[in-house]
Symmetry: C2
Subunit: 276 residues, 2 copies
Amino acid sequence: MRCLAKGSGLEIKVMRIGFYQFTPIPKKVKLNLDRIKSALSHIQADLIVLPELCATGYLFTSRSELSKYAEPVPDGPSCMTFLDLCRTYNLNIVFGMAERNSNKIYNTAVLITAEGKVHCYRKAHLFLNEKDRFDPGNTRFQVFQINSTKVGMLICFDYFFPEVARSLALAGAQIICHPSNLVLDYAQKMTFTRAAENRMFWILANRTGREESGAKTIIFTGRSQIVGPDGRLLYRAGSDTEELPVIEIAPSDALDKKVTPRNDLFSDRRTDLYQS
Amino acid sequence: MRCLAKGSGLEIKVMRIGFYQFTPIPKKVKLNLDRIKSALSHIQADLIVLPELCATGYLFTSRSELSKYAEPVPDGPSCMTFLDLCRTYNLNIVFGMAERNSNKIYNTAVLITAEGKVHCYRKAHLFLNEKDRFDPGNTRFQVFQINSTKVGMLICFDYFFPEVARSLALAGAQIICHPSNLVLDYAQKMTFTRAAENRMFWILANRTGREESGAKTIIFTGRSQIVGPDGRLLYRAGSDTEELPVIEIAPSDALDKKVTPRNDLFSDRRTDLYQS
């Protein structure tokens, strides 16, 4: 994180944010972790978001098969690898993993900070057969600090529910980290909307490639993107490319909720009229 | 409204819906009403949505100037004209107008049915200087019936707040009627999101042309559109064309909230976790 002088003595904090879009090899956890480690050790960044289930891949034939790959937080190999990486390179990482917690298995996003703090979000809205594999998330939509910047997490299909991003925005999130394994076409347009309606930065970290299991083939759609609080598309990856872009943003831009000089998206809300 | 046979004895009701995108002449109420009457008397349709403030135009220098053009509902010339039109042509119309109600002035959308029923929605989220001209809306986000189909209304900037469309969807809206005078670029992408996240039809009826008042010029952006519950763009108008498209839809499509066979967008909601 560095500071830019802005006119008369004012300083703006600049943060370098990005994502790593790639194709994990199914069930080759060590190989995937090594690959991520190698890629992330060559960059200058403050915050990198990785896809959902980035070290295991997505398709599991059963809960019991998935169970073999679920890891405790923070004692499993994935967290340990990233804790080391974050400390060594002064980096903050959000990544997706299968989390084991007593007899539960969650589809979890973990924020690991450069100081070694570990924060979890467990996916609330499970997609299709994830309902047979994972337990539904029980963490609230909380924000966590990276220095003075507040970040929120959600996972893949969660984006479809406007209440998720809104809850995080109302809790103060300036940057949304969105690890994904997307198969539908909606997310790019809809996460644009989520960023604009809440005036937050949005890092959509999707994966590429395909996975097969029996007769089932899933194609992941790439096109990871970063959107600004004003709805501007700041970066979009290709649909089948490995990419690790890093861009500079001013997280304070997300503190201003004005869409016009007289329209603040928070204070204009008519909570007296909404039905939830 | 007509019925299509669908396989084994099942019937699907088909509804012909559309919008009228045009350029109102500022403050020429009779001229605009005559123009709308003439256009709508040549079509076969069940529901037509007109722009916000469609008979008066948008720009008023003051509340007192606006006050001269505000009309009571249903006794003013706009409602009377549309009541007559709807009865004569067996048509349902949603249109935007300035509504006078004792000492209040609302930016109102009115649904007039073929049977002569009149339903109002008063804009809740006022844009920019509308805050000096209009009173904030006090109607809830209710749905109204056109035969057996439930429709909801919102006006222009209301779309920016996901709670509005969600409130209407939870109340059962199958079709959203969205009279607008849009000047920002967001609405086409964002109303796509609103339709998809609630699985409703969405008729965005914007206007075209420009208005000037003193040093101020506003350009309205056209591109009115109809989106389906699956997020498909069913029609989009040009940015500066007069258009009156009518398309056939099956309103019952909006009763199915499943985005996958196992993901119902309503029953999947985690209201236990949301913050409002």
